[in-house]
């Protein structure tokens, strides 16, 4: 069966497309060794996905080389150092978005579909050529948005473009960098606020997590670290949902916290101030 292509896009930059792609791909590959996962970095000229995966020094050939026929697809694919069933097709750093056309992308991804079960495409920010190259062969799209007005507005625009696409691409939503405390004090849009505007199916909610910065700098995706981490767990849950497993949404607001723990924290604060 030919593999499925999932596009990660957002419109606005810096909302976590690349981080989501890296973490979800790693989680998908880790949860089932029989699934072959491939990531494609479409941000030609500003590539980042390789850094987040810690594969920067292993790149020999890139996507533009493949498209131009300078090498075979297999030569350009970089195998992950931790997971043998995960590969990356890196973007070129010395070229720009005009080096590839949507038709070339369709041909390339058709070839990749024979080799992999899942192909995750990391789209660049914006709705110009690079975006349309990424959309060209996508079956489904995951829209990444933060709970901010500007990000939601851009996501809305991108959803409009994807729905208008001749292939009618199915859209899912990931709400990234959610801060429960700010929502409680009414300083941030809640999940419901975002859902009301965008009106597409919710795939997952990722809480703000400082460890993401450390993990992207180190090149070790958070969803691979066994230690408990809010964001890492959220990415793993999303990966499970993508494979059809029903996982309840994470309790990002901390409402269902154990009563005993709550009492204990209350006691602790009393002792501190008393």
């Amino acid at each position: 069966m030919p593999g499925k292509t999932i596009l990660f896009t957002s419109g606005k930059g810096g909302v976590g497309k690349t981080t989501s792609t890296a973490n979800i791909s790693v989680a998908l590959a880790a949860q089932d060794p029989n699934i072959n996962v491939c990531m494609i970095d479409m941000d030609i000229g500003l590539r980042n996905l390789d850094i987040q995966l810690g594969l920067e020094n292993r790149i020999v050939y890139n996507l533009v080389d493949v498209v131009e026929g300078s090498c075979k697809v297999r030569q350009a694919l970089v195998k992950d150092k931790r997971l043998p069933n995960l590969s990356l097709l890196p973007a070129a750093q010395t070229r720009d978005k005009t080096s590839v056309t949507p038709e070339q992308m369709v041909t390339l991804i058709d070839e990749l579909r024979e080799m992999f079960d899942l192909i995750l495409i990391d789209s660049p920010a914006g709705i110009e050529g690079g975006f349309y190259n990424s959309v060209a062969a996508a079956d489904e799209a995951i829209i990444v948005s933060t709970p901010e007005m500007s990000s939601v507005r851009d996501a809305d625009r991108v959803i409009g473009l994807l729905e208008a696409h001749p292939r009618k691409i199915n859209c899912w939503l990931i709400i990234n960098r959610l801060r429960a405390a700010m929502i409680k004090s009414n300083d941030m849009m809640s999940v419901d606020d975002v859902m009301e505007i965008l009106g597409i199916k919710l795939l997952g909610v990722i809480p703000e997590d400082e460890r993401i910065i450390v993990s992207t700098n180190k090149g070790e995706p958070l969803s691979l670290t066994p230690k408990h981490s809010g964001a890492g767990q959220a990415f793993r849950n999303i990966a499970l949902r993508l494979t059809g497993v029903e996982v309840p949404l994470m309790d990002v607001y901390g409402e269902s916290q154990n009563i005993l723990i709550k009492q204990f924290q209350k006691l602790k604060s009393l002792i501190k101030f008393g």
């Binding site: 507005r153 625009r157 729905e163 208008a164 009618k168 009414n186 941030m188 849009m189 009106g199």
Partner: protein
């Protein structure tokens, strides 16, 4: 049902003539009528099939859909004599399609306005269906003297959002010569422009311009913008007049939201809650 009252005296045309097959048409009718049943209330619907032929089985199925949804069907318009005969056998009221029986367009200088290529691409997708698409290249004349007059079916365009109630998203542009009804939410960043009035069955944000290109004060006073919710950010223009929302952050807004109408009164745009 306050939200449907505004339209109960008028009819809404659902144009199904652009489909090639009955299965496609049936699917759309089911989504439009059965799944959005509460939207329609007592509104009388006119189903337009134009030259599309229906077989005996198709008419049976159509009859079933109408009976199941308990929708108020005014009539079924068809140009096919065979279909007409079959509909009569089933006691479904049907007529042929009236051809431009309205008065000449007072804003005829605007009649040549067409949708921009990008918006055409957006409107022909599955989610946002431009139902009266066939009449777009040459917009039908409109009767501006009285908005939504009975029997002037040509004046109404309906845009329906089939995706979780969002009809028009940021970046969508609707430009049309005539009255417009949008079923579903209109998100910020969307632009609607019409020579007639605009009704939104949902939350209205973004920028709407009703009575576009009109200069006659008397006509402008008859133009209105109605919505079940008027949100923020919102800019309403009617004729030459323009007004915008108060710019309060929607996160802190505790304002009660209710159906509203915007009209021009004494040289200003007013928001009146006359839906109740």
């Amino acid at each position: 049902m306050a939200k449907t009252k505004a339209l109960t005296q008028s009819n809404i045309v659902i144009d199904l003539s652009k489909h090639a097959s009955w299965s496609e048409t049936k699917e759309e009718l089911n989504i439009l009528i059965s799944k959005n049943r509460s939207f329609w209330g007592d509104t009388k619907l006119i189903l337009r099939f134009a030259d599309f032929h229906l077989s005996v089985d198709d008419v049976d199925e159509l009859n079933q859909i109408i009976e199941d949804s308990k929708i108020n069907i005014d009539c079924v318009q068809t140009n096919s004599k065979i279909t007409s005969k079959l509909l009569e056998d089933k006691n479904i009221n049907n007529t042929s399609i009236p051809i431009n029986k309205t008065v000449p367009n007072p804003a005829s200088s605007f009649a040549s306005v067409q949708l921009l290529p990008s918006s055409v691409a957006m409107n022909t997708n599955n989610k946002i269906r431009l139902i009266k698409e066939a009449s777009l290249p040459q917009p039908a004349p409109i009767r501006l003297e009285s908005c939504f007059p009975p029997n002037s079916y040509e004046t109404l365009t309906v845009f329906v959002g089939l995706n979780e109630n969002v009809a028009l998203r940021s970046g969508h542009l609707i430009s049309y010569d005539g009255n417009i009804v949008v079923i579903g939410d209109v998100n910020p960043g969307c632009q609607i422009r019409s020579t007639g009035s605009i009704i939104v069955y949902g939350k209205l944000c973004g920028s709407v311009h009703a009575g576009f290109g009109l200069t006659d004060e008397e006509v402008i006073q008859k133009i209105f913008v109605k919505a079940l919710k008027m949100g923020d950010p919102l800019q309403i223009s009617i004729g030459d007049y323009s007004a915008c929302s108060s710019n309060e952050s929607s996160l802190h807004s505790k304002r009660k939201i209710y159906p509203e109408t915007a009209r021009v009164i004494d040289g200003r745009i007013w928001r009146i809650s006359d839906f109740e």
